[in-house]
Amino acid sequence: MKEFLFVFRRSVESNDPPQSPEQLQAMMKPWQDWMGSIAAQNKLSSSGNRLTNEGKVVKPNKVITDGPYVDIKEAIGGYIIVKANTLDEATSLADGCPILQVGGTVEVRMIVPMEDNN
């Protein structure tokens, strides 16, 4: 089994924080169902993390800019790590990811195995 990183990107404008616990729960449910489905196949390696909207980008020569999204419309909203035998299998796991419902994308990248790092 190899590991693959799923990076979730979505447009910055649509990323409004939930207003109430009910709203939060309604937002979380499709994610929980989708991740629960991957976990039930024993293919979830790490449930990763969600990222907030705030951020800084550090560039050479002590240039620091606000936000990760100055040049692009989309920002990274979070990531998880899955287990799969091939890139195709990993890609098919991304099917049904709730980010796709709000116009976002999932970038699927294979993680270089530890022993190949050098």
Binding site: Q32, D33, A39, A40
Partner: protein, 412 residues
């Protein structure tokens, strides 16, 4: 109670208490001495109570006799004089009498410390359960063998090896230092959970024995949560989980020891008091910051105490399994999640998910698929029932599946 029944009863309740106190005093490396002393005491009880009649207070008699035997042993034993006495830091020189303390408090403390000693990370899980049953619950090798469906000799060897390990690892009967209690408790809780599950899910036909295993696991959990140093939210969650499961004990088997499935159970046999206690422990488990797998499993078990099939119930169970699986994968959780999905969102959706599970060698997997295909595709239902029957190992599962197969054929 006649002494013929009283002695086995006292053996079950008192053996473990005296053993814990004596072991605490002698050290785990001399566990055999403690076992000999307590066994001799019970042998003497069996011999004399029948002839001379019952003592006024049989328990006190057992304590006094074992205490005297221990003191005799200490007095004449050279090993004690040279090896143990110098190590007994709390002894008055030359007066070990004051040290055999069979008070309630010391019994509980000794048992709790013994629990941590047995659930030491260097001891294998299997051995921990055996030792817990033997030393803390007073089960003999024969009973343990019956529960594990194995031979007395196998268990005897396992116990001997485990006790040897306790000795060679020089494990002390004491509570871990406060900073280590939480991490050591993880092993203790998982061992008690296994002990409970062994009783709850064992294929042994001996339902009385199986229930005893569950009761013992719960008794030890109560001991843990009653003590201020070892009482934690995750402990309450596990105890709550045990209460919810145990509440169905009477309803889940028939007179022949055959399993009655959840949906077919007579809810009037569910133990309402245990359910109420489970709810109380579940509330107390909400104290910490952490949500453990015991919290999630207890919450799932709570929803199962409500018999009525509502969307709310199954949606909640589904979400709890989603979280549980993200925390820790297990085939049974994956199957249960899929079942909850079928109840919350319908069988068609669940079939799609079930086909992804890759559990072809698991008979529960085929039982689940058979359930999902019922009414949708009778051919596939029958096919999966037959595959489940081929894969099932124990007679309970086999006979249950055989019944389903004949009823599926009847419906065609």
């Amino acid at each position: 109670m006649e002494h013929q029944q009283l002695i086995p009863h006292l053996f079950r309740t008192e053996y473990r208490k005296i053993i814990a106190v004596l072991c605490k005093m002698f050290g785990l490396e001399h566990i055999a001495i403690a076992e000999d002393i307590v066994s001799e005491t019970f042998l003497l009880a069996a011999e004399t109570w029948g002839l001379k009649g019952l003592p006024k207070n049989p328990t006190a008699w057992l304590y006094t006799v074992s205490k005297n035997k221990a003191l005799d042993y200490l007095r004449r034993d050279t090993l004690f004089q040279t090896k143990i006495a110098p190590e007994l830091n709390h002894t008055d020189e030359g007066h070990p009498e004051t040290d055999i303390d069979l008070s309630n408090q010391n019994i509980i403390d000794s048992q709790l410390q013994m629990l941590f000693a047995i659930c030491h990370p260097s001891i294998s899980n299997e051995a921990q359960i055996g030792l817990a049953l033997n030393i803390l619950c007073g089960f003999g090798a024969e009973e343990i063998a019956d529960a594990f469906l194995t031979s007395k000799e196998t268990i005897y060897k396992r116990l001997t090896r485990a006790k040897e390990k306790l000795r060679s690892e020089k494990i002390k009967i004491e509570l871990p230092p406060p900073g280590d209690i939480e991490s050591r408790l993880e092993t203790v809780l998982s061992t008690l959970y296994l002990l409970f599950s062994e009783g709850y899910y064992s294929a042994s036909q001996n339902t009385v024995l199986r229930k005893d295993l569950c009761i013992e696991a719960m008794r030890l959990m109560v001991m843990l949560t009653d003590h201020p140093l070892t009482c934690t939210p995750s402990g309450y969650a596990l105890l709550s989980l045990m209460c919810f499961h145990a509440s169905r004990f009477e309803a889940r088997t028939n007179q022949d020891g055959e399993i009655i499935l959840y949906e077919d159970q007579d809810t009037s046999l569910w133990d309402k008091d245990l359910i109420a206690q489970g709810v109380d422990f579940l509330n107390r488990s909400a104290g910490g910051k952490q949500v453990t797998r015991y919290h999630l499993e207890a919450a799932i078990a709570y929803w199962h105490t409500l018999k009525e099939d509502t969307h709310e119930k199954w949606e909640n169970i589904l979400q709890l399994y989603n979280r549980l699986l993200q925390m820790e994968y297990s085939p049974i959780a994956a199957l249960n999640r899929t079942y909850a999905l079928s109840k919350a969102n319908g069988k068609e959706e669940a079939i799609v998910e079930a086909e992804k599970l890759n559990l072809d060698a698991n008979h529960f997997y085929h039982s689940l698929l058979a359930n999902l295909y019922e009414d949708i595709n009778p051919e596939k239902e029958l096919d999966h029932l037959q595959r489940a029957w081929t894969l099932a190992r124990n007679t309970n599962d086999k006979s249950l599946l055989a019944k389903k197969i004949s009823s599926a054929i009847g419906r065609k």
